[in-house]
């Protein structure tokens, strides 16, 4: 197929990660009482950025290998 699914996955996760991390960094810090005092938005946002960038890297490195002909 002509769309490598890793690209949209990578884009979405990077985007979500950036949104969450930015919100965690700049937003209200009082809301983290629920998450045991952990700034889960910032922390998990970073994890999602790493995963998203990794997916983008895999998708962009070279076009998806055509499956071996049978």
């Amino acid at each position: 197929m002509n769309l490598d699914i890793r690209l949209p996955i990578g884009m979405m996760f990077t985007l979500f990660g950036v949104i969450l991390a930015a919100f965690g960094l700049l937003g209200n810090q009082q809301i983290y009482q629920r998450s045991l005092g952990i700034n889960i938005n910032f922390g998990w946002g970073l994890v999602m950025i790493v995963f998203g960038v990794f997916m983008l890297f895999l998708g962009l490195r070279k076009p998806a290998k055509p499956t071996a002909p049978k």
Partner: protein, 604 residues
């Protein structure tokens, strides 16, 4: 009930997800040139994509919510649905059955039955399957709308639009139907599969932090163990006797009923999952698909069952939480009755707490996972968690819709209504079938809302249709003497046997009705609904097996040359000699089985 404190950021995440989902459909539109592109993703997808979709297609929200609920109700014994009830069957379908499904070039499971047996066996399977997909997709839509209602997700937006709260159900059903319709109509199976892969990663992203926070709160796995009864953290304890374990089944019923007949009947013959493997680019990839799916499947209990167990273990009553909704401070109501985060079920008719036959309050286990999300997630990541939940509802629907449009077009429309049209005609029919499949699902969703029994009815249909199926496929693929008349007679009597068994038995504590006993006499009372369901499957399988053999021996067999590629003994074994040993499906299958055994031993 809890008030969901969504802010702008949560909505942004939700809308971005919908934009991605529809965007994938729009992008794929131009590649939908033939019916094979639309119904089988052009048979060109890599194994890992098909594998994750194979797993995620089954991971609808009914499954996510249901597994969390069972985790809270039965504890770790729920893992049997994964480790016993899925893994062995997934390995079997990959190693032994995929060569026939993929090798025969059948475009659907009913079409395989047509090639192997005859027209009537295909018709039987195609019609019953089409009805089941529509009902399941409708139920999925209904469950989603109900959840949105219970969590009050749409309260604020509806208020802003000046609409009454009763619109929540309509808005949820229509919006989810339109999104699913949009991306399946545009991109066919490819679109559905891609979105299932997206959903898979999203569920992991949404639930992993939940498990992390939950476990941290209860003091890790060892902390959880001290706060739950021992039977909740040992999956095999008490399995020698039906009365000693929370499931109410003994090991034989569990292994034969769930692990063999039901599980193999589902994973090996249900077109909803098999279609994902048929979309793979090569035979080796098609065989790897279920095996790759089995790897995440094994560890998924940690994401879907564990949160349910944690929800039960948390202390009650909890502190009230103050949240800020659009600038107004509101105090979230705390459940006054219940256990952990799980509230007591409220009877819809009376508005009072529901009680069981012994007068004890009934817990609303289905709220285990949603309440966990609300309890631990602040705004921001809450949007992510809810999006993951919505994604699983929608891909559960989309999976059923894609299976429906294929079976409708190839096995009903092309077979009985309009043969021999150009391929383009069937492509358009598929798109049209997507529209009316979704329309029928909406009808089913409203029916479910109207008749409380529809969910029970669906389970009954599943139990009856699914139970004998594996006997037919097993004999068809591994015994060349099996005939079409034999298969049809076996299926018909097996299904009837399942109906009779359900009609003559009753689970403990249930009244005569949809749950059983409607044939007038109750010959046996099972300790639980699960036990009844397992034994229904065992009986139906045995009857189907015996009748198929009997009738086959009495009827004329087909010639060997017609069965090449359809029966094990007459089919060339897939040649995988060119692959390194570690890349061969057999090796992967062995790894999966060893890991599953290890998990069972650790959590015995």
């Amino acid at each position: 009930m809890n008030l969901t404190a969504l802010t702008a950021i949560d909505w942004v995440i939700m809308f971005l997800y919908f934009a991605f989902v529809l965007g994938i459909g729009v992008f794929l539109k131009k590649y939908m040139k033939t019916s094979t592109d639309f119904f089988l993703a052009g048979r060109a997808l890599p194994a890992w994509v098909c594998g994750l979709a194979f797993m995620a297609a089954n991971l609808g929200a009914v499954e996510v919510i249901g597994m969390g609920a069972s985790g809270a109700k039965y504890g770790i014994a729920t893992c049997h649905f994964y480790w016993i009830g899925a893994i062995p069957a997934m390995v079997f379908v990959g190693l032994f059955m995929m060569p026939f499904y993929y090798g025969s070039r059948a475009r659907s499971v009913p079409e395989f039955l047509r090639l192997r047996f005859d027209e009537k066996t295909r018709g039987f399977n195609a019609f019953s399957f089409a009805v089941m997909t529509i009902l399941s997709s409708g139920i999925s839509m209904y469950a989603m709308a109900k959840l949105i209602q219970v969590l009050h997700i749409l309260d604020v937006p509806l208020a802003k639009l000046g609409l009454p709260l009763s619109y929540t159900f309509h808005v949820s059903v229509i919006v989810s139907a339109l999104i699913v319709l949009g991306y399946v109509f545009l991109g066919g199976l490819t679109s559905a599969i891609y979105n299932e892969v997206l959903q898979f990663f999203l569920i992991v992203a949404g639930f992993l932090p939940l498990v992390f926070l939950g476990l941290k709160n209860v003091g890790g796995w060892s902390g959880l163990k001290t706060q739950l009864p021992t039977a909740f953290t040992h999956s095999w304890q008490g399995m020698t006797n039906v009365h000693n374990n929370p499931l109410g089944v003994e090991w034989f019923g569990l292994v034969m009923g769930l692990g063999f007949t039901l599980s193999f009947g589902y994973w090996c013959t249900n077109f909803l999952v098999v279609q994902r493997a048929m979309a793979a680019g090569s035979m080796t990839d098609a065989r790897r698909t279920p095996l790759i799916a089995a790897l995440p499947k094994m560890v998924f209990p940690a994401l879907v069952i564990l949160p349910g167990m944690i929800a039960l273990a948390l202390p009650t009553p909890r502190q009230a939480i103050t949240v800020n909704v659009n600038g107004v401070q509101q105090v979230m109501k705390v459940n006054t009755a219940g256990q952990g985060l799980i509230p007591v079920k409220i009877d819809v008719a009376t508005g009072k707490q529901a009680v069981d036959s012994e007068g004890k309050p009934v817990l609303d286990y289905d709220l285990a996972i949603p309440n966990m999300l609300l309890h631990y997630f602040p705004t921001g990541i809450l949007g992510l968690g809810l999006t993951a939940l919505l994604a699983s509802f929608m891909s559960g629907m989309a999976g059923n819709v894609t299976a429906f449009n294929t079976v409708w077009t190839y096995d009903i429309y092309q077979a009985y209504i309009h043969k021999g049209a150009p391929d383009k005609h069937y492509l358009h029919m598929g798109q049209f079938a997507t529209v009316f499949g979704v329309a029928l699902s909406i009808v089913a969703a409203y029916a479910a809302n109207h008749y409380n029994n529809l969910m029970d009815f669906l389970q009954l249909v599943f139990a009856v249709v699914n139970a004998p199926l594996f006997a037919t496929f097993l004999l068809g693929m591994f015994w060349k003497r099996t005939t079409g008349h034999g298969a049809f007679a076996g299926l018909a009597t097996g299904t009837t046997a399942a109906l009779m068994h359900l009609g003559l038995t009753l689970p403990h504590g249930d009244v005569v009705g949809m749950k059983g006993g409607w044939l007038g006499a109750v010959l046996h009372t099972y300790p639980s609904e699960m036990a009844q369901n397992f034994w229904t499957a065992i009986f139906a399988f045995m009857i189907c097996f015996v009748i198929t053999i009997g009738v086959s021996l009495a009827t004329k067999p087909r010639e060997d040359k017609e069965l090449v590629g359809l029966v094990y003994s007459l089919t060339e074994k897939p040649n995988e000699g060119h692959l390194a040993w570690y890349a061969r499906p057999v090796f992967l299958g062995v790894v999966v089985l060893v890991l599953a055994t290890v998990l069972n031993l650790i959590f015995r």
